[in-house]
Symmetry: C2
Subunit: 465 residues, 2 copies
Amino acid sequence: MKPWEKYTPELVADLYELTMAAGYLEEGMSGEAAFSLFIRDYPKYRSYFVSAGLEHLLEIIPEFRFDKDSLEYIASLGRFRPEFIDYLRDFRFTGTIRAIPEGRIFFAQEPLIEVTGPIIEAQIIETLVLNVMQLETMFASKAARIVHAARGKGLIDFGMRRAHGVDASVKAARSSFIAGFVGTSNLLAGRLYGIPVFGTMAHSYVTSFECELDAFLAFARAFPEGTVLLIDTYDTIAGALKAVDAAKIMAADGKSLLGVRLDSGDMAGLSRQVREILDQAGFPDIKIMASGNLDEFAIEELAGKGAAIDMYAAGTRLCVSADAPYLDIAYKLVEYDGRPILKLSSGKKTWVGKKQVYRFYGEDGKMNHDRLCLHDESDTAAEPLLETVMVDGKPTRKPEPLETIRSRIASEFMRMPEPLRDILTRANYRVEISKTLQELDDRISNEKRREEVEAVLEQHDPPRS
Amino acid sequence: MKPWEKYTPELVADLYELTMAAGYLEEGMSGEAAFSLFIRDYPKYRSYFVSAGLEHLLEIIPEFRFDKDSLEYIASLGRFRPEFIDYLRDFRFTGTIRAIPEGRIFFAQEPLIEVTGPIIEAQIIETLVLNVMQLETMFASKAARIVHAARGKGLIDFGMRRAHGVDASVKAARSSFIAGFVGTSNLLAGRLYGIPVFGTMAHSYVTSFECELDAFLAFARAFPEGTVLLIDTYDTIAGALKAVDAAKIMAADGKSLLGVRLDSGDMAGLSRQVREILDQAGFPDIKIMASGNLDEFAIEELAGKGAAIDMYAAGTRLCVSADAPYLDIAYKLVEYDGRPILKLSSGKKTWVGKKQVYRFYGEDGKMNHDRLCLHDESDTAAEPLLETVMVDGKPTRKPEPLETIRSRIASEFMRMPEPLRDILTRANYRVEISKTLQELDDRISNEKRREEVEAVLEQHDPPRS
């Protein structure tokens, strides 16, 4: 796919969404289904997730229609009857979506989204819903950890070049911005979302000049405001000394050098030496910025070693969520035509029924625990996390501004128990299962095990290893 | 970004590409630059890379123009002089690209692409070139390993839901297809590239019916050709017995059940039991397909345990390249205005100058070693890997059909030394440095170290830790 190519969301689907849909249609199955989107378990080191992606999903769902080209392509596969193609021609999603808003902390097994509607409709959008929700939730969850590790130091996203395509790069920029980054190098994200853009020079700029100092001075002439010089092209210490020379020449002209950037080597030690060089030369205000394979782990280590770094750029490891490049996210049928549903597949627990998550706070105002309930249980003492955001296929509210979501994450983080924030140790937040949910789940599990498994095995006496 | 939104490639750029370009323009630097795109080192377990992404790059570069909206956005940043905006208005890439064609085996430090042209032009496209080339090369390199591990068994890409956005998902489908997969579940990739699409049912289909056997029979009625039944929803063995019942009912109607799919549990043991059930029931032709977190490591393990699996689906771990979600790819200035260039940054070796890679074969027809040379060295006994693919910003040949690239990978794999194919052990393929390149690199390194580092440090006597 070319990055400028326009395409329609209805083909953001695995083929089986259509074969199942055709199967439902064939059987006349028009009952209401409820699907639950949740993350089964945590990646290593992770103790929480940050919700993101909902705003995009709410924009896309109403546009999910089958255009002429898509219908022709689907018909050309030779698998579907004309009645199904006719059905798709008039397709639109007419259901309801309840969701945890963007920028909230949530936990494994908690539904991030519940989609209710005619089973064909709720099935056909599965792949799109998963793709959109995983990507941004993964990035926001990673970025929140980096923000925590940076302890108030400014953070910029530099990852566009190594993100998995352009779509991923702009979503990484948006997700990291709502998590607390100050901006991005990504021009497309800057234009699409109004996120502040940052950036100065690469090694190629420095090396294109006969000598490093000439490169510094030329750049300062072109961009006297906000100049940041990359000083590790040949040797970081020699580079810092030349940056001092450049700062002096700029000062003579009434200009100030904003900062220097380190991109390789032992950045804890180098940053302290560079700080000393800058301070001794009378430039205590020149900032030191660091980049190069940084994420929460590297930043935590630098902080622990007393690095003198004022600002960090996180690139690749943020934009591919390097330590956890996917979430174990699932979209499961939990109710059909009033019948609570679950599957028993080994190692893949799904809680039965439409649900709500209630959050309980302690007297200190911090999150104390959550309770996973059936959707019609109520608890006035606690805060429900899922809200209705779409009815009859239309959003029930205006899109949330980025700043609203950004503030929400910041305030969620304040209310999160301290141990959960730690980036190196998994902490367990208590997610209770309500008695009603547990009983229903037990009853349906037992029934299914008896009907679908035990009766069959007794009858056949198959080989067991 | 919405998945159907049209956008232009010129904002697939980090801001610094523009600040550097403006700096070059300001200094009147119009000399010819050569940039080299290469991968610095191997991810763990990896011994080779498979080139991919070039065809997309060749399509995009000629479209890289600054449209009115983009120019307005760039001007709105308030950083650039009107002369630079005027320059961008007329921008097009007029340079030359030499590249290793798609579907070839290549190694760390070997240039995958060399871009030659006016320095501003070759700089501005940096982020785009890196983003496009890393993504598909990463996927093709991962997929080739999976194909090897599958030992001739059919492979299907199932990863759209967990890929990092839609762009990544279609590129994973394309890259895995050229590496030897038989197809994908991804409808958009099917439409865009004509890749065969596959897929049948999810757990939601099975659970939407009152009982599993009803779901199987309904699906077989809707899709009597090519039916594959997912049998692990409640219990894989009970599911296999019900699949036998379904197969018998289909047989009575003159139809054949194509296969069953396992998606959880101990798939080596379960597949053997299911095979036995199917064989004993008189259905030796029903295929067993496996899915669920499969990649080369899992498939190798299954094969080692004697799994009775006829076909594999690789999803998440393929589509995020889970064990190596990025490559250490770089785009470095190696020559400017006739002057050979390198940087000395610690741990980030860049070879100086425009280069060619020559490949030497042994008497057995297998790859013996490569030699990294300056571009104007010639060696008639060996095969040059880089070809000229773009001149004056225009492709010099027609796009290569997918089948051509797919055949090329297959034949490359045949010529690859056996130890390199192993998926668990890093093997070293010899990449020699030509004497001429080594001498030039040493000379420039020494000059730069003397001029840029030693002279400065002697003069200043800075703090050294």
